[in-house]
């Protein structure tokens, strides 16, 4: 290309930090939040006591609380990046827990078959919804809303509107993996149950899948521009379907973990799970319109949302306040993300323009000299 010869060496790239690490905005808000809570604790405790909010036992406590929503949030991240949404996860989790509990206590299927049955039900139902969503033009919002109501109904029918109590058959899932470890500060027992580990494993796998595989590239592509993705040889319909299938697996696993914690299959078990997971995912920077987001962001969202209720307890605020706080965090985090995007977008456009202007100036001169 004739133009190439006169192109000057590129200037040092000065990308804003907030652009290079897209999760930095929400991470700094989270850090600010933790700092405020710690300071409040120090002030209220007269500065003498160690702030319990960041004591190891409390951090592990938060982990236990967010483990299950975290697993579902990873699935929600994939679905939302692909341009979809799933409102049915809460009621689906309830349904799975009831099926599994019934399988163990009433139908006497044994623990492993019952768990597999529950997970298979979740995968099957998500596949049906994914099939409808990918083959029709109906909004995923509506299909999964219908799914949510339907699943609630099926769950109530199965358990005759009663709870299904088990005899601790799933207790091995909440066994403490670090038996005997003590918090050096409060001398309380430290607990890490297996489902926290499973959450981390799933988060790791989800992150790798999205960032380092062909599958991930395609999920981002169909969420960004389905038309262009289709013309680039991507099977848009089946990719969308696959996101819901993965969601089914994760909801199944999450529901079994939830059941293990409570030991009772009940329809309220997954109530509000969809709200919490969607909130976690959007706090983490995933766009509702698809194509944008990542697992690291979601993890920050998971810990952030999970620690709000806990922090309110620590500050001895009434539990109702936590809803206000959670809601505000969603609003603040997402708006701040947009503002920082605009700023970095503006800066990068200005930089490109300036660069082009310099290019033109130097090019004009060198064209003269080469003639």
């Amino acid at each position: 290309m004739s133009g190439e010869a006169v192109v000057e060496p590129k200037p040092a790239v000065r990308t804003s930090l907030f652009k290079r690490y897209e999760n930095l905005t929400v991470l700094s808000i989270f850090a600010g939040f933790v700092l405020v809570i710690v300071l409040l604790q120090l002030i209220m405790g007269g500065g003498a006591k160690f702030p319990t909010f960041i004591s190891p036992v409390n951090l592990l406590n938060i982990l236990q609380q967010v483990g299950v929503p975290g697993i579902v949030a990873i699935g929600m991240t994939i679905v939302m990046i692909s341009g979809g949404i799933d409102l049915s996860v809460g009621m689906l989790a309830s349904l799975v827990s009831i099926i599994t509990a019934l399988g163990i206590s009433k139908w006497q299927l044994g623990v492993v078959p019952s768990v597999l049955l529950g997970i298979a039900a979740a995968v099957g139902l998500e596949t049906i919804m994914g099939f409808i969503i990918s083959r029709t033009k109906v909004e995923p919002f509506i299909i999964t809303l219908g799914g949510m109501i339907t699943f609630q109904g099926i769950a109530l029918l199965l358990c005759s509107s009663r709870e299904v109590i088990m005899n601790g058959e799933l207790d091995f899932l909440k066994a403490n993996l670090i038996q005997g470890a003590k918090d050096p500060i409060s001398h309380l027992n430290l607990i890490i149950p297996p489902y926290v580990l499973i959450f981390f494993v799933i988060a790791l796998l989800g992150g790798l899948l999205l960032s380092y595989t062909k599958y991930g590239r395609r999920i981002y592509a169909i969420g960004t521009n389905p038309q262009a993705a289709y013309l680039a040889g991507i099977d848009v319909k089946n990719m969308k379907l696959s996101a819901y299938v993965i969601m089914g697996v994760l909801v199944g696993i999450g529901a079994v973990m939830l059941l293990a914690r409570i030991n009772t299959g009940i329809v309220t078990l997954g109530q509000g799970l969809e709200i919490d997971t969607i909130a976690m995912v959007v706090i983490g920077g995933t766009a509702l319109k698809g194509g944008k987001g990542n697992v690291v962001g979601t993890l920050i969202g998971v810990f952030f949302l999970g620690s709000i209720g806990n922090a309110m307890n620590m500050l001895r605020l009434p539990s109702e306040v936590q809803f206000v706080a959670k809601g505000l965090v969603v609003i603040i985090a997402v708006s701040a993300g947009d503002v920082s995007n605009r700023i970095s977008g503006f800066l990068s456009r200005r930089r490109e323009l300036r660069w082009h202007a310099e290019q033109r100036a130097t090019k004009g001169e060198s064209v003269e000299s080469t003639k």
């Binding site: 290309m1 380092y212 062909k214 395609r218 592509a221 521009n225 262009a228 680039a232 099977d235």
Partner: protein
């Protein structure tokens, strides 16, 4: 001379007057001199955009009860002129517009108040509302704070009856054919007593019955004293209803003629006539064997198309907007259904029911609308460049480092003006975005390239670079199908040219036959010329 400069102030005022006015129009004989009174006069209209002169010193006028046609190739400046008349663009310094003898500075608002209505090619309608609601949208008749439905219905019916249309005022707009929707838009012009109606390509994608029907209606409207500016690629229509025709070419007014006594050959002569020495001089490459063949391809609006494509050859596809060129390309690439016919690659019949298979068969499709169908705008150059080749790679794992390396290689090779391959595509200019699309397909190692409007919306410098890239492809033994509305581009780049009209192939030209006049005669004229 009637000098009536009272602008239509409120829709309500207009509506009250319209019913009686329409009745008068039907019965009263108009005096001849009133028919000829001038509504619009444009003097010395020029319009310059950064880097492009779209219009140069255009003069144009329109009388009451006249149909003044505008002709010219794609990009001749017709659309710019319409936009000036509708107030969307302001002409450059020195241009004057007179409305009923008074100088005016047109804004969209003033144009509307003066009674100039533009009916664009794309319908601007509310599909879920009724015919009546569409006509009165934004200017509803209100009585005591409530919609006065019976009055609106009465006026709608009166106008529809006058137009001899039996549409119901309550029919849903979305249920109507595009011909009927056009009639509703024209009816709106009558209800609000407009003085000028501008019709931009009104019959694109119409059936012949619909065209006849619409032309009748336009004549009825004309006879009620409105001035009509009619833009069409179809010379038959121009000759059927036009009184005068102005021909534009490259932003200049070439001629203004009375239709009476004019021949089609003379009109086409006016429309062509560029100096070929100003065209891009393409390097010739020796042409090889047949690599791609379409046999009786039918589907998606294309009908019974057959052609062959040879190695190191550019096959141009010409034709007016709406002639089914892009539709055909989608069929060839597998992104639209092939109803009938066969596609052969290297002599073998291939089944391509989706783009994935086409890419595996080494086809590439550079689409017309790169932002909506070609690019993942918020993503980086590297991600865009590597996305189509995922079909061909076996590895499940992809590394960002490899993507960046490939991206950077193409940034350098094609001279994409960006700091590096991590720049987001949305931040690039049109020409550089197009290069990213090219890089995406080069990365798949394709052999058969479909370029749909390769240089649309691209500055002159980038245009030349893209032409060079295309010639480089030919040297590597690739074959190119190029759809283009840019006449110099078709003539200078193509080895052979297929001309399409109404979804059919009407001519295949080669060598010296490739001329503006030949292409235009086939794409807009009758076969009788």
């Amino acid at each position: 001379m009637r000098v009536n400069v009272r602008p239509i102030r409120g829709a309500r005022l207009a509506c009250e007057a319209v019913a009686t006015a329409n009745r008068e129009r039907q019965t009263a004989n108009r005096e001849p001199e009133r028919l000829m009174s001038e509504i619009l006069r444009l003097r010395n209209i020029s319009k310059t955009f950064p880097g492009v002169v779209a219009l140069r010193n255009i003069s144009f006028d329109l009388n009451e009860g006249e149909i003044h046609c505008l002709c010219g190739e794609n990009g001749a400046g017709k659309s710019t002129l319409i936009k000036i008349l509708s107030g969307a663009y302001q002409p450059d310094e020195g241009g004057e517009i007179f409305f009923e003898e008074r100088p005016v500075v047109l804004t969209p608002h003033l144009a509307m108040n003066l009674g100039i209505q533009t009916i664009y090619q794309e319908h601007v309608i509310f599909e879920t509302l009724s015919v009546m609601e569409n006509i009165f949208a934004g200017a509803e008749i209100v009585r005591r704070g409530l919609l006065h439905k019976s009055e609106m219905k009465r006026q709608t019916l009166a106008v529809l009856k006058y137009l001899k249309s039996n549409l119901s005022p309550d029919a849903k707009m979305g249920d109507l054919s595009s011909g009927e929707q056009k009639i509703v838009e024209i009816a709106k012009g009558l209800v609000f007593k407009r003085k000028v109606i501008i019709l931009d390509e009104p019959t694109a994608s119409f059936s012949s019955v619909e065209i006849d029907n619409l032309l009748d209606i336009i004549e009825t409207v004309k006879n009620s004293g409105l001035g009509i500016i009619y833009i069409s690629h179809h010379l038959e229509e121009v000759f059927k209803i036009g009184d005068r025709v102005t021909v534009l070419r490259d932003g200049r007014k070439v001629s203004e003629r009375e239709i009476a006594g004019l021949t089609k050959t003379a009109l086409i002569k006016d429309m062509v006539g560029r100096d070929p020495s100003t065209f891009y001089q393409r390097e010739k490459v020796p042409i090889g064997e047949i690599v791609f063949e379409a046999r009786n391809v039918t589907g998606n609006g294309a009908r019974d198309i057959s052609f062959v494509l040879k190695r190191s050859e550019i096959l141009g596809i010409s034709g007016m907007a709406g002639s089914g060129r892009s539709e055909l390309m989608n069929v060839l690439f597998g992104s639209a259904r092939l109803d009938f016919g066969e596609i052969l690659i290297n002599g073998r019949v291939v089944k391509q029911s989706d783009p994935k298979q086409a890419i595996r068969n080494k086809m590439c499709f550079i689409t017309e609308d790169r932002q909506n169908t070609g690019l993942l705008l918020p993503q980086t150059i590297a991600q865009n460049v590597t996305i189509a080749n995922l079909v061909n790679t076996r590895e499940f794992v992809v590394r960002s480092r490899d993507d960046a390396r490939i991206g950077d290689r193409f940034v350098k090779q094609l001279g994409i003006k960006a700091t590096n391959s991590q720049t987001r595509v949305v931040d690039l200019s049109g020409g550089n975005q197009q290069k990213v699309v090219l890089a995406k397909w080069f990365n798949t190692n394709g052999e058969i390239f479909i370029f749909d409007e390769p240089t649309v919306g691209i500055d002159v410098g980038s245009k030349q670079e893209i032409y060079k890239v295309m010639v480089d492809l030919l040297k590597q033994g690739k074959a190119i199908i190029m759809v283009s509305s840019d006449m110099p581009e078709v003539i200078s780049m193509s080895d052979r040219v297929i001309v399409m009209k109404n979804g059919e192939k009407v001519a295949e030209l080669g060598g010296d036959e490739i001329s503006e006049e030949n292409i235009l005669t086939n794409s807009i004229g009758d076969k009788t010329i």
